[in-house]
Point group: D2
């Protein structure tokens, strides 16, 4: 399990959220207060949108708290849309290629969760990735696989439904393997315009996910960054949110349903886009 | 393309070959004299057999010449069977998981070469890896894939024929992709008792490979470690050698033939085991 | 503050203590049970004596728990005398040069503690290092400085008294700077024959230090490696121990006294050698 | 010896010079055409000025050509004043703390060269660093020491003369040690407004240094970035240049003279500010 946060709104320095909060992301890398894993020190990553087409990535394998470059870069970089992640490996190696966020074109994606039986299903998971995207399969995490599968499911056309279908397909593999939990999923993804987040689990234990509306934008975070808990709103399991500028909309996020029925899947798409 | 060396014989300190030769492996990491790539500084690796069942691996991503641990470990470790490799990436990331040698149980394997169209065939390559071995697919190189496929082809039973079949299968994928060169292959592998090496290409440019008989054992190396060139024997393309103790035997290594005809493949196996 | 352990006795695999204990050193890197800092993940190091003259060092900057090489090397290396350390930086950078153990010739040294006002006294500390040893000043920790100063104080001739004098000189610098605590010190050092450990503080908070006698040797450790607490003996503050083979002797370790009076320092030396 | 480049002028993406030139800095890291060391792969560093007070630093220990973060950051970062460096160690460890550029407040500094007898003079060199700056002595290179000594000599008040005095003091130490060459020095430094460069040696072998005037600014580089050699002007040994916006002025840079005579040093300062 991992910790992450994202910002959408007026441009601000990344260290304001990544470092300079009571329970900043770097603080969470040493001592996460919610979730199974207090220490999230198996690498980290940043993605931010600048004036280039694609986001900029900085990732490395050291603990976030001891990375001198991270302090420098977050102190000097300002962005209106950024994602940041600290990793706690659930098995795969500590390697830059296994660090989140993952990127493809304008898109980036980060994840906290797991699919049961990962070792048993990994080859099938790799086979599910569209051939044209396999060159972008750099690491070995199920997180990166879910992202690439979602791109194949039409992330560009329907960002929430495509992600739900990808999660459903991976959950289905996991169910076949028989290893619990089949799917725990909290994630954040963006195309540089909109920021999406979703929370879901095949059991009652969806990974934590919160957001907070500020004057100049919206923070999404695995856990509240400060003790001002009244301001932090927990995203309900089975829900996705979408932020564009300061407008936040909520959608159902129901991969299990989507997976078993194309009809319902179609409805879900409609519901999603109508929400 | 990469550089490597291996030793089979009386126990000796690894630094005698890895560091303390005119054209030692570390010297080759800065300035290889043969081959396409003078600089081989995208990581390195060592595997040696000790008194445990499986070989010990030390790999890292820095250039071999600047790694302080490498100097320490090769100076203090003595082994009668070891492999050492310096990497020049042909595309995949500089990552410990992409460093040679690769290991599985008693076996280890290292490689210098390439399969044309690697990006186009990588997913099929991953699909060729036996399901039971996919948990050991840690990186993204075709080298590691060839090794795991060879294990599935029966490396335990017939170490040279199984490797030839694996190379043939990968070459066949590469031919289908249409990207030249289809296969260039110099490799070394061991089960802790025997040391194998093979040299082969689908064109006229098999990567260089040499051996030298010493009083106490046999060195296999991508290029001579000293100017005493009369002592270094070039392994002919299409040939595999096997060393057990100080006994060296030579075998045909003809993946192209093996790939296209099960009958001939059977004969090759027979020839190989009779050699 | 940091955690460390050492073994003196019959040769054994390093992973038996470093990894395969209830509260192994790697477990302590994630969750130390005693001391101020639960997480000790700013690098690690090993030193072991083999059949070469000087000890072999393996150090790196990643957390001990995620280092694949550490698992390999400790599983395959057997030694009758080894030291292992996981670091929690008290300020200086995460850098291989700041990782313990430090080495000079046959000697190696590792430390858990601090000297108050480190930043203010660092230049004077560097000036205290004997000129002939300054080439071996590779990092910026006070730990390495204490070791090099101790070598200059005659570690070869009188390993405990020389260390006490070095600690006294550094404590004296710290007192002049006025920053508390002046000195907290738990350390372990060896010349390949004898293993020394000492515990001391200028206040009441000497860092924890224990030993346990086993059938085949002696373990020294920052905290017990298992819940069998009756077997673990706490070293009293102001005490040094020396193990040679299975013989353990105890000595006073009183840097404060030594520092203020050459006469008493002389007596201390005598007491020490007679203990 | 190392390679470096700097830009002063209209904001531009860093990769335009660092990566996308015929003989870009990254190309020089693999194959420098001028100078003693073709391979400059012992770490690298960037410093750029943004809208924060102090420059932003990104440094790491891998070869520049294989660092995925370097590609990302230089592609997305635009600055009107930046410095970039690839290192070839002349002895000290490959460590982030030994990577250039070095920083202090608004200032940053990078260097290509050496002072003879570095090991013998290092402790005296460290003693020369002003006490108030010693907390910023993070590594072990003479380059960082020269920078900190220059700050103490008044870099803020007189950037060229202070640097000349620092170089003179270090050369003097080197002369006392008797180890040739006493001083070879090519360097670049900036306060975020002005960019300075100097070339000097105590013998006839000053490290190479060039500049080129472009439409929108000035490039300083260890060697020409393209074959358009007519555009590249070699800086003469014993000369410093200063660029402010697109205005370039030239000054004598005569550390040897400055060192031996305060009177002449005063004149030099005057000459310098009048140039």
């Amino acid at each position: 399990m991992c910790r992450f946060l994202a910002w959408s709104g007026a441009p601000r320095y990344l260290d304001e959220l990544v470092l300079n909060q009571e329970q900043s992301l770097v603080a969470q890398s040493r001592n996460a207060l919610i979730g199974k894993t207090a220490i999230n020190a198996d690498g980290f990553g940043l993605a931010w949108y600048s004036d280039r087409n694609n986001p900029c990535f900085y990732k490395d394998t050291h603990p976030a708290w001891s990375d001198a470059n991270l302090k420098q870069l977050t102190h000097h970089t300002r962005s209106g849309l950024f994602l940041a992640h600290v990793r706690a490996s659930t098995g795969t190696a500590t390697s830059r290629n296994n660090c989140h966020p993952f990127g493809y074109g304008r898109w980036c994606f980060m994840h906290n969760g797991q699919a049961g039986g990962h070792d048993a299903i990994r080859q099938q998971l790799d086979g599910m990735i569209p051939a044209s995207l396999y060159g972008d399969r750099l690491g070995a995490t199920e997180s990166e696989a879910i992202f690439l599968i979602a791109l194949g499911e039409g992330l560009d056309q329907n960002p929430i439904a495509a992600m739900a279908r990808a999660v459903a397909r991976v959950e289905s593999l996991s169910r076949d393997s028989g290893a619990l939990p089949f799917m725990r999923f909290a994630a954040c993804w963006s195309d540089g315009e909109r920021l999406f987040a979703a929370r879901y689990a095949s059991d009652r234990h969806a990974p934590s996910l919160f957001y907070r509306k500020c004057k100049t934008g919206i923070i999404i975070s695995s856990e509240p960054l400060d003790a001002d808990n009244g301001e932090w709103i927990e995203i309900a399991a089975g829900t996705a949110i979408e932020t564009q500028g300061t407008v936040l909309t909520s959608h159902p996020f129901a991969p299990g349903v989507a997976a078993t029925s194309p009809q319902i899947r179609g409805q879900h798409d409609a519901a999603s886009s109508a929400a």
